[in-house]
Amino acid sequence: MDIESYLKKDYITNLLREDRRIDGRKFDDYRKIEIIGNYIDEKACGSSLANLGDTKVLVGISMDVGEPYPDKPMDGIMITSAELRPLASPRFESGPPDEESIEIARVVDRGIRESGAIETEKLLIGENKVWVVFIDIHILDHCGNLIDAAGIAAISALLNTRMPKYEDGKIIRGEWAGKLPISCIPIPCTVAKIADKILIDPNIDEEYAMDTRLTIATTDTINAMQKGGKGMLTEKEIFDAVDLSFRKGNDIRRLIE
C-alpha cells in the first residue's frame, strides 16, 4: 500500500469516528444500484449488467448439455466462475483465476446453490444427460464490493435466462424453449468493519481501510456466509450483520423482481 492509500485510510477512519462515510452515505446505505438485464441479448442465454455506484459487473449465462454428477444423477449442474478482467483494476493481471476471483465465484455460487434458486431437478434431459448452467462473472470496473455486485448480477441474469431448444440430441442455437426455472432470489449483502464500525457496501477506498468483512446471502433463510480479510468480529457485530443482511436483501430483491 502506498502513501496515498495510507492517508486515505486515515481520513476514512477519522471520518467514521464522527459517524460519517467518505461519500456521505449512511452506514446502512448501498450505493446506487442499476441493473440492466439482457445486456448480451443475442448470444448469451441470460445476462445482466449490475452497477453498484461505479462498480460494474457483467454476468452471462451459457447453457450446455453434459453428464450429471454420479451422486445426483437426476439433477442439472451449475458451474460458477469469476474473472477479474485486467481492465477493471490496475491490480488485476491476465492469468488463471487467483484466490480473489475464486472466493467471489464460490460465495456467489453458495448463495444460489444452497437456496435452491435454480431448480436443478427440472434440468434432466434423459438418461445420464442434464443441462449444465454456466454462470460467468465478468468484473469490468472494480470500485469496491465485488461480491454483492456479482451476486446481484448473477441472480438477475438467471431470472432472464432462456432454455435453448434441444432436439434429436442436439442444441439448436438461437432458438429457445421457455425460461430457466428459478424458485427464489438469494441476495448477498456485505458489511465491512472499519474502526469498530459496521457499515454496508464498502466502496474501494473503504475496502482498503477495512479490518474485515462479512458477507451473508439470504432468501427467507440464511444460505451462505463468508468472513473475509484479516481482522476479527465480535458476536454482536456478527448478529447485527445478519439482521442487516435480511433487511437489505429484501430491499434489493424488490429492485430485481
Binding site: Y39, I40, K43, L58, G60, P86, A88, P97, D136
Partner: protein
C-alpha cells in the same frame, strides 16, 4: 459449408444491407472509472469494451526498454459472447489477434516518449458477431486517445470479403461462416497507410483489388465516427468545466 445458406438475395444481404454498407455502429469513450482510458463500441451485434492502463512501470525489470514503452495488447472473448460457451483463458486465435493489434497500434502511439514503461491495452469482446478484431482495434485506439496518450493519428479498421461470389464490406457472422473470404484491414487514415492486414479464403488478383478498396472505404467511415465520438467527449468535458 455443409448446409447451403443463401447469403445474397435480390442484390441484398441477409440483413438487408447493400454490398458497400457497413453495419450500425455506436461509440462511447470514458465508460470506465478505474482505467486510464476506455471506450465501448456496439457494431452490429458486436459489443466490445476497451480499457487502457499506463504508461506504468514495467515488471520484471529485464523486460524494460530504455528507448521506448512496451505496448501490450490483450484481446479476450467473454465465455458468454458466443453461441457455444468459450472456455476462459487465451486460445491461439486470441494470441494472434493480440499480437497483430499491438503491432498495428505501435505505428501510431508515441512509445519513444515513455522509456522503461508499459502501456496495457485490454479489449473485452462481450458479444461477438464477426469482425471483432476490427471493432477491438477501433475501440482500443479510442481508449488510448481517452487516456491522453500521444498518438500520431487514430487507427481505424474494417473488414471486407467475398460472399456468394460478391465482394461486400463488413461481414456479419453468417457471411463470415459461410462466405468465401474475409479480409480485415486497419489504416492510419491521414497517411492512408496500412497497419493491419490479414486475409483468408480465395480471391483472384482482381477480386483482391476490389475487396481491399471496400475495406478501406469502410475504415474511413469508421474514422469519421471516431472523430465525432472524441469531439463529443471533449465538448462534454468542456461543458462540465464551464459548470464550475
Amino acid at each position: 459449408m455443409n448446409e447451403k445458406i443463401e447469403l445474397i438475395k435480390d442484390g441484398k444481404r441477409l440483413d438487408g444491407r447493400r454490398f458497400d454498407e457497413i453495419r450500425d455502429i455506436s461509440m462511447k469513450v470514458g465508460v470506465l472509472k478505474k482505467a486510464s482510458g476506455s471506450a465501448y463500441i456496439e457494431w452490429g451485434k458486436n459489443k466490445v469494451l476497451a480499457g487502457v492502463y499506463g504508461p506504468r512501470e514495467l515488471h520484471p525489470k529485464f523486460l524494460q526498454n530504455p528507448t521506448r514503452a512496451l505496448l501490450r495488447c490483450t484481446y479476450n472473448l467473454a465465455p458468454f459472447s458466443v453461441d457455444d460457451r468459450k472456455k476462459p483463458g487465451p486460445d491461439r486465435r486470441s494470441v494472434e489477434i493480440s499480437k497483430v493489434t499491438a503491432e498495428a497500434l505501435e505505428s501510431v502511439v508515441m512509445v519513444e516518449r515513455y522509456p522503461n514503461t508499459v502501456i496495457d491495452v485490454f479489449m473485452e469482446v462481450l458479444q461477438a458477431d464477426a469482425g471483432t478484431r476490427c471493432v477491438g482495434l477501433t475501440a482500443a485506439s479510442l481508449a488510448l486517445a481517452d487516456a491522453g496518450i500521444p498518438m500520431k493519428d487514430l487507427v481505424s479498421a474494417c473488414a471486407a470479403g467475398k460472399v456468394d461470389g460478391e465482394i461486400v464490406v463488413d461481414l456479419m457472422k453468417e457471411e463470415d461462416n459461410y462466405g468465401e473470404c474475409d479480409l480485415p484491414l486497419a489504416v492510419i487514415p491521414r497517411k492512408n497507410e496500412v497497419v493491419l492486414l490479414q486475409m483468408d479464403g480465395k480471391l483472384t488478383r482482381e477480386e483482391f483489388d476490389k475487396t481491399y478498396r471496400l475495406a478501406l472505404n469502410g475504415a474511413m467511415k469508421v474514422y469519421e465516427m471516431q472523430k465525432e465520438t472524441l469531439k463529443a467527449r471533449i465538448e462534454h468535458i468542456m461543458g462540465e468545466d464551464n459548470g464550475y
